[in-house]
Amino acid sequence: MSEMAAHDAHAAHPPGFAHQFEDAGQQKDAGTLGMWAFLVTEILFFGGMFTSYIIYRSLHLPGFIIGSHLLLVKFGATNTAVLICSSLTMALAIRSAQTGKSKSTIIWWLVLTMILGAAFLALKFTFEWHADYVEHTVPGAFFGFENRPEWGPNAPYVQMFMCFYFFMTGLHALHMVVGLGILTVLVIMTARGKFSSEYYTPLEISGLYWHFVDIVWIFLFPLLYLIGGRYPGS
């Protein structure tokens, strides 16, 4: 999670070079490989949930479709768009550093990325989770299946779906929060002039992390919001 990026952020003081390496190329390669290895662990970390989701969906399809229809596509789609925008701004922030643009350009792109990330979380927490709470679709003691006779015997599986919805989006949101923390560190480092076209590894590997979080959402959106179809009678 943030540890990797934060570590490198600390280790890499200008000239950004740590004593155990032979040269800057070796250091950059090591950092990138390390981040990718970490992202592999993240794939398998989320993968445990995706595996469970696939299995239960195949076992309890009707309940999962009812559950999916409790979510509002407009929020999911908007948030997807917001995250894709933030990925673009992140990529542009790195590119600015790569091509030796001014500090303020890099900071501008980073801050824009943070704003988009925050917008995602705001939408998630206030419009979606809060509404779920009000409507008793949060799993647990207050799960309101007594009020939903139309769910019939599928009620337990609707609750199972909502468990997945909250665990998966919750874990994703947690990663977003960590990402915002990393971005904050990057903004400070940029402001202090730590990066140049010669050395911007922390930016680059933090970018990998941010894009990864975006990819997770790219799968969560269809799996949670769309699957089962939204057409009449689905």
Binding site: A30, W36, S58, I218, I227, G229, Y231
Partner: protein, 120 residues
């Protein structure tokens, strides 16, 4: 000799046009996947949704995450991650979806409705 000189300290600078094109594709695909959900394609709804998600992922991985320009090791690492996820999903499903089989004289052909069930 360690293999740390393949790329050097300077990464590949991706042209800004590529970023914009990737971004626009991602937006279009998002609109597309949302729109398709409102059309009844039967079992294909799931297939299309997942196919679009995979394409979007590939765009992000290859261009935003620079894997297209990275050296072989990075590519292997990425493929390993998804391969292992595949192992986990496939072998777990190999149990969960064949539970009924032992008492079920339909036998191997029983798999077809299960697959149908999985995709629908």
């Amino acid at each position: 000799m360690s293999d740390h000189t393949e790329q050097g300290a300077h990464g590949h600078v991706v042209p800004i046009g590529v970023y914009i094109a990737v971004f626009l594709s991602l937006m279009v695909l998002t609109a597309l996947t949302t729109g398709v959900a409102y059309i009844d394609l039967g079992a294909w709804n799931t297939v299309v949704a997942l196919a679009i998600a995979v394409v979007k992922m590939l765009l992000v991985v290859l261009f935003f995450m620079h894997v297209k320009y990275a050296h072989g090791l990075t590519k292997i690492v990425v493929i390993c991650g998804f391969f292992w996820l595949g192992i986990m999903i496939t072998l777990s499903l190999s149990d969960e979806l064949t539970r009924g089989w032992e008492m079920n004289p339909i036998g191997w052909t029983g798999m077809i409705p299960f697959l149908h069930h999985l995709l629908s």
